[in-house]
């Protein structure tokens, strides 16, 4: 893939078009699994788990703007994640974690609540987002995960102007907070 196509793909992902992720997955899956299992004595199942993990890291980092200056190809990037995880696993003498989400969400900050409490809170937000209306959910995701500007969201969602989008975002966040509180109360009952 040419560098310009690669940057266009990352930009497209950032704009919320996740169909590209499927293309990346299908393009490199087989080669990745064969390469990892041949060169690093990894069984096929584990190599597949690692590929899924690499794809999610790629996606997360693309959203965080960490790939805006990516010098290598997407393929090299994915393969490097796989290789590093295998080496890390060998160093720790342990199997790769079954739960990729454990590895993707960073629990290491000392000021965060303890890990279990933190995971419980994330799940409450996740559940509250499922109860939120589709447009609010999309608006929140485009703002906080895809990190789009108010202008970009206005254009993507067809709102009147960025002030309208900003007001809607405020209302959606308030609604989400109410839902999170409701979920917390139900859990505490």
């Amino acid at each position: 893939m040419r560098k310009t196509d690669q940057l266009a793909l990352i930009e497209d992902l950032r704009l919320g078009n996740t169909g590209n992720l499927e293309d990346v997955y299908k393009t490199y899956r087989e080669e990745f699994i064969n390469w990892l299992s041949k060169n690093y004595q990894c069984d096929m199942e584990e190599a597949r788990d690692l590929f899924q993990y690499a794809i999610l890291v790629f996606y997360k980092n693309a959203m965080e703007g960490k790939l805006d200056t990516l010098q290598s190809s997407i393929k090299t990037y994915l393969f490097a994640i796989g290789k590093n995880q295998v080496l890390k696993k060998a160093h720790l003498k342990s199997k790769f974690s079954y739960d990729v989400m454990d590895n993707l969400m960073d629990h290491s900050d000392s000021d965060k609540l303890d890990k279990l409490e933190y995971e419980k809170n994330l799940i409450q937000v996740h559940e509250a987002l499922q109860s939120l209306g589709d447009s609010c959910k999309e608006l929140i995701q485009l703002t906080y995960f895809n990190r789009l500007s108010m202008d970009e969201i206005t254009s993507k969602m067809g709102y009147k102007n960025s002030d309208t989008t900003k007001n809607l975002k405020y209302k959606c966040v308030q609604r989400l907070k109410k839902l999170i509180n409701r979920h917390q109360k139900v859990q505490q009952q």
């Binding site: 997955y25 199997k95 079954y98 989400m101 994330l122 409450q124 995960f145």
Partner: protein
């Protein structure tokens, strides 16, 4: 929280503030408790949104994986079929023999895996025995009835009630018990889907869910996958470790 404060916190968390503005926010966080509380709540929304997006993406790639596996299995079946057709005149009798022998072997292995499953499977105990106090689910008649059915081993009824309860209350514990009820009711395929869904929602019963997933795969004669999950069960320091090790010795290479 005022809209201006929300916008300010969002800009801070997204890294959109200049150095001086960042310092001003940090000073306010140290002095203003209410602002600090809003900040923490907003930070959780940012991280929870990322968690939600990654969960969705993960589900999506698992679906792609499943469709790719199914396509690959169809394609290999089709190749096998055409080979049989080419040689059919010379090999009908041999093929029939092989097929019958294969079916017999398969049935034998299925019944042996079924026996292994029966020997090791015991549904996770109900929340109304000694795991939890009753107050947890008070006011939730549906859930109470579901667990009564579960405890009475009326799993088909428990499945219906748990599904209805999950519609009102997406509590991961209910999903875990639904998967158990499905497995106890003989529907290992649905149980696998439900246990996987549970693992996306919660890690509280993670070792247990992986153990039951292993048993479900063994029941379906998916020994390789079952053994892989047994190895994973052994990684956790739980009561399932010994059972997983013993079962693994019996059925895994």
């Amino acid at each position: 929280m005022k809209q201006e404060d929300l916008d300010l916190i969002d800009k801070y968390l997204l890294g959109h503030l200049a150095a001086a503005e960042k310092v001003a926010v940090e000073e306010r966080l140290a002095e203003d408790q209410l602002f600090y509380d809003h900040f923490e709540a907003q930070k959780l929304i940012h991280e929870g949104t990322m968690f939600n997006a990654l969960m969705t993406a993960r589900q999506k790639i698992e679906n792609i994986e499943a469709s790719m596996e199914s396509a690959s299995s169809k394609s290999s079946n089709s190749i096998a079929t055409s080979r049989i057709q080419i040689k059919r005149i010379f090999a009908v009798a041999a093929c029939l023999g092989i097929i019958i022998f294969g079916i017999l072997l398969y049935q034998k292995s299925l019944s042996s895996n079924q026996a292994t499953f029966t020997a090791y499977f015991e549904p996770y105990k109900s929340v109304f025995t000694n795991e939890r106090t009753e107050g947890v689910y008070d006011g939730e008649l549906l859930i109470r009835q579901a667990f009564e059915m579960y405890e009475n081993k009326s799993y088909a009824e428990a499945i219906k009630l748990l599904k209805a309860a999950i519609k009102n209350d997406n509590n991961p514990d209910l999903v875990f018990y639904l998967a158990n009820a499905q497995l106890a009711n003989g529907d290992a395929t649905s149980a696998i889907n439900t246990f996987n869904k549970y693992l996306l929602l919660s890690t509280e019963f993670k070792p247990q869910a992986i153990w039951y997933l292993a048993l479900a795969h063994i029941k379906l004669d998916q020994i390789e996958k079952g053994c892989e999950l047994l190895n994973k069960t052994e990684e956790f320091d739980t009561t399932y470790r010994e059972m997983a090790a013993s079962l693994s010795k019996k059925i895994c290479k």
